[in-house]
């Protein structure tokens, strides 16, 4: 199979998720060729080099001012062109707001199959087979594609980026756009103050739920996050109560995260939340209810009041030698 990996970047820095997908493609048994494509306002030289280090042999670079805003439709134009010209039979995406929209738009443009929420992929008898969990991950489907290019949208955080030190050939792509792709335009962007610190890329996430008790309770989550060098997340219920901003929401209607460490404070573990964090390597949950569902999928289940346990934990972390040198956000 000939795989094209769509690599996303934010202001020239690759997203961890899309580099992970590229690494997976590079390690895929049965992949005859792995190329990457990146689009943006340019210059994208460093981005191209990084894709080479993660296993792409060719990096298609579409640099054009109209690709500066994170809008999907001009990207569909770029991808259609690259897929057709390079005769790619598989296109991989990492899930994100932009990635999902672009993938579905490309599926319609090419009349191609799109399988989403995949956690892995393999080549079986020369054909791509995707692995898709469903029903709150109680079942794992094998999914396939018929005809046309196979479009695969991977669950965020399914793969770790692993540089293998290659070098890619950079292939510029002249940007031509369909008329309808240019109609939406960004008139203003408001970057959040914690720019770049997307919780999706953080190595450690400290998340709070209704068990924190109030908006003030989230100061506890922030202090713990500061002490372990992590970002703060929140459940939908806590966000709905106005205790923490929506952009920090982890779950079905928020972000999907897969940090090395996820610390859940006062979170019951509703399915809505679970789907956003179940890929975390290590899950530590602190909840005073011994029957909280979150304990069923935690590695370390702590039955206790967050208002007692967490301040004690913060004090111990701060008392460690060298604690002051812990960077605020190692994931950024």
């Amino acid at each position: 199979v000939k795989v094209l990996v769509v690599v996303e970047h934010d202001a020239g820095a690759y997203t961890k998720g899309s580099l992970g997908v590229l690494s997976r493609a590079a390690a895929l048994d049965g992949a005859d060729e792995v190329a990457a494509v990146v689009a943006g306002a340019g210059p994208l030289d460093t981005v191209g080099a990084e894709a080479g280090r993660h296993g792409a042999t060719t990096v298609y670079v579409a640099a054009d001012a109209s690709l500066e805003p994170a809008l999907p439709q001009p990207r569909v134009d770029v991808l259609e062109q690259v897929v057709r010209a390079g005769a790619f039979d598989s296109v991989f995406f990492c899930n994100s707001v932009l990635g999902a929209d672009t993938a579905a738009g490309l599926a319609a443009r090419l009349g191609a199959g799109l399988n989403w929420d995949l956690v892995d992929v393999e080549v079986r008898d020369g054909a791509l087979v995707g692995k898709k969990p469903a029903l709150s991950d109680s079942v794992l489907f094998d999914v396939g594609w018929r005809g046309g290019p196979s479009l695969a949208l991977f669950r965020s955080g399914s793969f770790e980026p692993s540089p293998i030190g290659g070098e890619a050939r950079i292939e510029p792509v002249p940007f031509t756009s369909s008329p309808h792709s240019q109609l939406a335009r960004v008139t203003k962007q408001e970057r959040r103050a914690d720019e770049g610190a997307s919780i999706e890329d953080a190595e450690v996430v400290v998340a709070g739920g209704v068990g924190l008790g109030s908006a003030e309770g989230f100061e506890l989550a922030e202090e713990l996050a500061g002490a372990v060098g992590g970002a703060v997340g929140a459940t939908r219920a806590a966000v709905y109560k106005g205790w923490y901003p929506h952009h920090a929401q982890v779950g079905q209607t928020g972000k999907t995260v897969s940090p090395r460490l996820y610390i859940a404070l006062g979170i019951s573990g509703a399915v809505q939340h679970k789907v956003g964090m179940q890929n975390a390597k290590v899950i530590v949950a602190i909840n005073k209810d011994p029957n909280a569902p979150i304990f069923e999928f935690s590695d370390l289940a702590v039955v206790g009041d967050v208002h007692t346990v967490v301040p004690a934990l913060i004090a111990l972390l701060r008392a460690r030698p060298g604690a002051g040198s812990v960077p605020e956000r190692p994931g950024a």
Partner: protein
């Protein structure tokens, strides 16, 4: 201005798969996808302010009529159901063909979607539909206004908010941060029973049956298996020593 709201009839309660077809079992009771209440509310508010017409559109089994009646009780003026045995098993692309054909027939200025469906379907159906209609689209809309023939949207992304403008006609998927959906009033439910609802087949939309349903779907489910589970859980239930034990656990695994 005419607004179409695309809604989905989803299984009530737990979603199950049919063991042989590996499709979602849709034989049980169903209801309006909860996330579709947000675009319905957004459309109702726009209509109340400026007298727009609101059409609810759905692709589904005949039972989806029930969901369209719910949509009518929440402010839609009339409803269109695309229902055809030949369309069963449609994947994202085939469903988008059906929906795009229905929307092309209605020619709305604005087509609204909810941000997701509770039965796990449709990663970004709106994007496929907009592409087929060759119109601009915006997803994750947390604010939405119509100014003459211009659409203005505030979109939430991972990094911040984008303010986007597009000319109508356009497609917008709204997030659940956009409003607080209303509950259907008794009056609304009564009125819904009398509002017009038409049912259309794929052929009536001008679609070839080989372009929809299982035959028209370029993706497929091959087999079902069991996923790996998390093992080796440690439980701490002494609050007094918990903090020290957590720290030890994290240090041992080089997590701090």
């Amino acid at each position: 201005v005419k607004i179409a709201v695309c809604v989905k009839h989803v299984p009530s309660g737990r979603v199950r798969f049919h063991p042989e077809t590996l499709r979602i079992d849709r034989t049980g009771p169903g209801e309006l996808n909860a996330f579709d209440k947000y675009p319905l509310e957004a459309a109702a508010r726009l209509a109340e302010a400026d007298g727009h017409e609101v059409v609810a559109v759905s692709v589904g089994a005949p039972a989806a009529e029930e969901t369209l009646r719910t949509a009518l009780s929440l402010g839609a003026d009339r409803a269109v159901l695309v229902s055809d045995p030949a369309a069963a098993g449609s994947d994202l692309v085939a469903t988008a063909r059906l929906l795009a054909a229905a929307l092309a027939g209605e020619a709305p200025d604005l087509a609204l979607f909810g941000q997701q469906s509770s039965d796990g379907g449709g990663a970004a159906l709106w994007a496929a539909v907009a592409e087929m209609l060759r119109v601009p689209f915006v997803s994750q809309a947390s604010e939405l206004t119509i100014d003459g023939s211009t659409l203005r949207v505030r979109r939430e992304t991972e990094y911040g908010d984008d303010f986007i403008e597009a000319p109508l006609p356009a497609v917008v998927a709204v997030s659940d941060a956009i409003n607080e959906p209303r509950y259907a009033s008794l009056k609304g439910r009564m009125a819904a029973k009398k509002k017009p609802l038409v049912v259309l087949t794929a052929a009536e939309l001008g679609l070839d049956v080989t372009a929809v349903g299982d035959a028209g779907s370029p993706s497929e489910v091959l087999a079902a298996g069991t996923p790996p589970t998390r093992t080796g859980r440690v439980t701490l239930d002494d609050e007094a020593t918990a903090a020290a034990s957590i720290l030890e656990y994290l240090v041992d695994r080089e997590l701090v």
